[in-house]
Symmetry: C2
Subunit: 320 residues, 2 copies
DNA sequence: ATAATTTATGAAACGCGTTTCAATGCAAGA
DNA sequence: TCTTGCATTGAAACGCGTTTCATAAATTAT
């Protein structure tokens, strides 16, 4: 395989000139440029991208950390990031962690290695103190409220939006409100829990641990929630479900069990995924594709540490 | 930032020795190894991965081409690939094409560039003749029946499985059978269409273009299918739906419209995604995570062009 | 005791494109 | 006519780890 030197020799010019032609830099005479192009065509020349990477110290790769890739929430986020990446000639390196710390650290190591130019963490597992050590190696972008921290972030203020949702349900007359969440830990979950507790306190409602269902990620997890629900003698009358998928699963199973929505149980989803529209689920819209796009642009604008809050919108449909 | 030379100088050894220590090669005395390690720690040495890539001519990156990343079908496939990649110290570069040829060619170019060591195409758009030109640059793996072609593949024989599904419905008494599919073109779609036409001919049934619904990818697409369905005066009595998501969407909308499943309309899904279990949808199981794993291993075993057929299993539930 | 291995170690070549810097030629402005 | 400046062009340095090959020393085998 021919390299730039071979082409230079063949075209009777220097490698510098060849490089200039390849990269469309000025100051190359038309004849020489033509000669170079001819030589490249003749040899079916392909420049070695790794040499470019080494030389430039950049890879045009952005790491994206997600716990799962088969979840619509992350799917949409990735979609948004991928679209923006495409437009900017960047590629994504997907790092699926399955919520294992080691995997996340591997991603951070890739940043340190300079194998990726920046790292977007869609859902963080490592403690902040661990992440902090890697900031010096390149931009790290979080998809969680990171105000006050020294990395950029695009986020939903989950305290605020959870509070708004709870108040909405309260206004509708609900006082026995529960919620479904993915994992218990994590910034977002903690914000939500804080909002929940503050809401209870403010309205002099008592805390009931049975009203909190964790491990809710997918449609099928709704089944488990309903199974638990029907065993409870004093059920919640409303459920805040942090994923439309799960909400849809709950809805489907409730129908089967003869639990009427919203009469017996009000359900409020999150994200405004297409499924919520089809199933008429009242939900809190989060423009995930938009979030993904912003995340990418923050990754590009590495030095600038900004924090973008994404507003959510309550979409009233038929499950509350 | 220190490089290998600096470390060598510091430790009083040659760069070769440092390299040996880094890569755990034998033939380094304990003292020198220790000196090297000490120097590396002192400088917080990080080797430049791009130099490694250039030198080795490998990147430990595998490209994965998908049309969308927010679809459970591809999500599971990616999951399978990602898990296997993780175990083998490979990373994935996700290339989302949105079914645009240019994007796929970009992925092929990455292979040519040696930016990725192999390319897995989960859903092909480019004509085979285009792909063929890139085979010489590295392993290309297809997730479609590529027997007879010079690239490896892991696939479901969609002709066979579609035929089996059609016969199953026929045995159940259905003669007015339609099907829902994503795109019309593509190997898989063509195999299915061929199976469909052959089935009709064999059973002396007439072809009705109204019975074929394309553009069915997601849950919400089920809504459109049902909308069309209720406008038809002579409806199919059974529908083969090439995605559980869509099947679930159809099921949900049918319930709303008072169409009883399976009495008025039998529905058969594909993939055996969790949603089909929750909604009791009869389906054809495709072990997508397993497929992903196989795809990865074929990518690893580049020179060996193998074709792995994945058997599917009919899972009887309550929608037929 | 001698030959045959094995262990240790480093110089140098290799992979390859980018970029800086110096130099030459030529044209426009003074 | 002479400077100033832009257009062209290439040599060489740079980014950096891997690997081959030669050499020397230490073992083991014969």
């Amino acid at each position: 395989m021919a390299n730039i030197k071979d082409i230079a020799k063949m075209a009777g010019v220097s490698v510098t000139t060849v490089s200039r032609v390849i990269n469309n830099y000025p100051y190359v005479s038309a004849e020489k440029a033509e000669a170079v192009r001819l030589a490249m065509k003749k040899c079916n020349y392909q420049r070695n991208i790794n040499a470019v990477h080494l030389s430039k110290g950049k890879t045009y790769l952005i790491g994206v950390v997600v716990p799962f890739s088969n979840h619509p929430y992350f799917g949409l986020l990735i979609e948004g990031i991928a679209n923006a990446a495409l437009k900017n000639n960047y590629k994504l390196v997907l790092i699926q962690t399955n919520y294992e710390k080691d995997k996340e650290i591997e991603a951070l190591t890739m940043l340190k290695d300079k194998q990726i130019d920046a790292l977007i963490v869609c859902s963080r597992i490592c403690e902040w103190s661990v992440m902090e050590d890697y900031i010096e190696y390149g931009p790290i972008i979080l998809c969680e409220d990171a105000r006050g921290k020294t990395v950029a972030s695009t986020f939903v203020d989950h305290y605020k939006s959870f509070t708004a949702a709870l108040n909405y349900l309260y206004q509708k007359g609900h006082t026995r409100i529960g919620y479904c969440i993915g994992r218990r830990s994590g910034t977002n979950s903690e914000q939500r829990d804080a909002a929940y507790k503050d809401f209870l306190e403010e309205n002099a409602l008592s805390y009931n641990s049975d009203f909190i269902f964790s491990g809710c990620f997918n449609f099928e997890d709704g089944e488990k929630v309903v199974a638990k629900l029907i065993q409870q003698k004093s059920r919640p009358t409303a459920l805040l479900v942090t994923s439309d998928q799960v909400a849809a699963g709950i809805l489907t199973c409730c129908k089967e069990q003869g639990i009427f929505i919203p009469e017996d149980l009000a359900i409020m989803g999150f994200d405004n995924q297409p499924i919520s529209q089809v199933m008429h689920i009242t939900t809190l819209e989060i423009p995930l594709v938009e979030v993904g796009k912003k995340l990418f642009h923050q990754a590009m604008d590495g030095e600038n540490v900004s924090h973008e809050e994404i507003p959510v919108k309550l979409i009233e449909r038929e499950t509350v």
